[in-house]
């Protein structure tokens, strides 16, 4: 290595910390930088990031393809909506109940479904979404059928004497940002734990993992439940943000969107899911301005993804991250 090379290497600074700081500032200042519509798009992206994080644990880390995420998202949305409409409970109660109920529903669904082999499991999870929608449509006394729930109050907090309502788009954005950050942290903790390593082992080779003492079936069930909890909490945000929940919350389009976020962003990576949510949901929301071009642009985006980024955008993000990291 010549002297010139060395000199150049020294001059290259580690830009990662400044970049993270800049992103943080942008995230915090976003409502004041962009228009209200941009803020709205970001909120939708943050809402979908939750079920996508859950799905990533399932698809990306454990290697189980599921289309059921919209079902748990819908269960969460209805739970939060019903609680808020009928009992006026504070937001954190609704969100927790939404997550818990979605998780509780995942248990009886997961037990038989996870006994099935790969493709049958996928078909089974597809069924959950359809069943969910049928229940939402027909259990009229609770869900009001096709009319759905409307006038769901804006989220309010009541902590002792302190109580406030998250009313504007900007304040909702900060709430969603906080929850999104917490969820990302939670996923990070799960993935970094020894259980995360076992999940990867199951994804890589289930029989081998089993032969090394890993109770694969129980892990898969737990991860299935955790992923449903994430989706449920995401659903509660959705209900409170849109203030309307209808049986259309249970739709395949949502499941596929969540799957595209995970696969497109980079299955098995956390940064990929964050990036994927911003790109695929933020983008489609932003593209609503040109409705005639929207689906075409979206489709082109997916084609680019399939042909040039088979592993999603995660490898690109990683390369960029290493590049700005300065010395090798």
């Amino acid at each position: 290595m010549s002297l010139a090379d060395t000199a150049q290497q020294i001059r290259r600074r580690d830009l990662r910390l400044p970049l993270v700081a800049a992103l943080l500032v942008v995230a915090l200042a976003a409502p004041f930088i962009g228009s209200r519509y941009v803020t709205h798009s970001l909120i939708i992206a943050l809402i979908f990031m939750l079920p996508a994080h859950g799905l990533n644990l399932l698809v990306g880390y454990t290697g189980l393809l599921s289309l059921a995420q919209a079902a748990f998202f819908g269960i969460g949305a209805y739970t939060a909506g019903l609680l808020a409409v009928h009992y006026g409970t504070p937001f954190y109660v609704n969100a927790a109940a939404a997550g818990l109920l979605a998780g509780a529903c995942a248990l009886p669904l997961g037990v038989p479904a996870l006994r099935l082999r790969a493709t049958s499991f996928v078909m089974c999870t597809l069924g959950f979404v359809i069943i969910g929608q049928a229940i939402a449509k027909n259990w009229i006394s609770v869900t009001r059928g096709d009319m759905g729930l409307s006038a769901i109050p804006k989220p309010h907090f009541a902590l002792g004497p302190l109580s406030f309502t998250v009313s504007g788009t900007t304040s909702f954005y900060y709430m969603a940002l906080a929850i999104g950050a917490l969820a990302t942290l939670a996923v990070w903790m799960i993935v970094r734990s020894p259980a995360g390593r076992n999940m990867i082992a199951i994804r890589e080779n289930e029989t081998l993992a089993e032969s090394l003492g890993v109770p694969t079936w129980r892990y898969k069930l737990i991860v299935f439940i955790i992923s449903a909890v994430f989706a449920g909490v995401g659903g509660s945000l959705y209900a409170h943000y849109l203030t309307v929940v209808s049986p259309l919350t249970f739709q395949m389009y949502y499941s596929t969107t969540m799957l595209i976020i995970v696969l497109g962003g980079g299955a098995g990576t956390i940064s990929g899911v964050v990036f994927g949510s911003l790109l695929f949901v933020g983008l489609t929301e932003a593209l609503r301005i040109t409705p005639e071009l929207r689906m075409i642009a979206y489709g082109l985006c997916l084609l680019v993804l399939v042909f040039w980024f088979k592993k999603g955008f995660a490898p690109v993000i990683n390369r960029f991250w290493d590049l700005i990291g300065g010395t090798k």
């Binding site: 259980a195 076992n198 890589e204 032969s211 090394l212 109770p215």
Partner: protein, 256 residues
Amino acid sequence: MTGLPILEIDKISKSYGAVKAVSDVSLHVNRGEIAGLIGPNGSGKSTFFDCSTGLQRPDTGTVKLDGQDITGWSLNRIAREGRMLRSFQKTVVFKALDVEENLIIAGQMFTFPSLLSTFGIGRMSKQRISGLRDRARELIKMAGLWDVRHQPAGNLSGGQQKLIQFASMLMPEPKIILLDEPMAGINPKIIERVIETILYANRSLGVSFLVIEHNIDVVTSICQRVVVLDQGKKLVEGLPHDIIADERVREAYLGG
């Protein structure tokens, strides 16, 4: 050490439809012994292995490990609670993960007291993992894989992968290891190394072995006793040299 066998398999049978893959096979492995299991292709060796280790459920018969009846236990429970580990002919390592991670995974379920405790990332959890890492590094050195320990296991040669698998099975301090054709498809140099590690595990760590192997030289050099299967039945059992000389065994191989 008592004289009781570590593994006692009594009259195991397994059928697939009309085909009797294994019928009434009994076998035992003494404590500290390296026993061999040989037989022509299709003689039921692998099915017998699968039924003994919980990958499949035998139709009849019992499996006793260290005096405890483990018939019907799942593969993961037999590994975790029984500390009876097994290898596979084809699936060998977690290809995408590096050598060290492969070994850490192999040790995790034996180090953490419960499934839920594996979700922890606190000090306790970190301590346990660093303990596993130390043990993994020792075994990696022993297996001669130190220089490649941070490489994805899938990038290494077939023989090296077998060594990784072998080292992985030593992570949980096993009582007995069942090896399914450990020498298949690896070059003679690595065969020496695998033999060395088997003997090391047997003599220094006190691990018993049951080995399926086609390489008759390997069988005679490491096994103290050999059982021969033919057409799902036990043909004969005895010392390696007697087995090679046995007329019935020759017939089974040549006639099969």
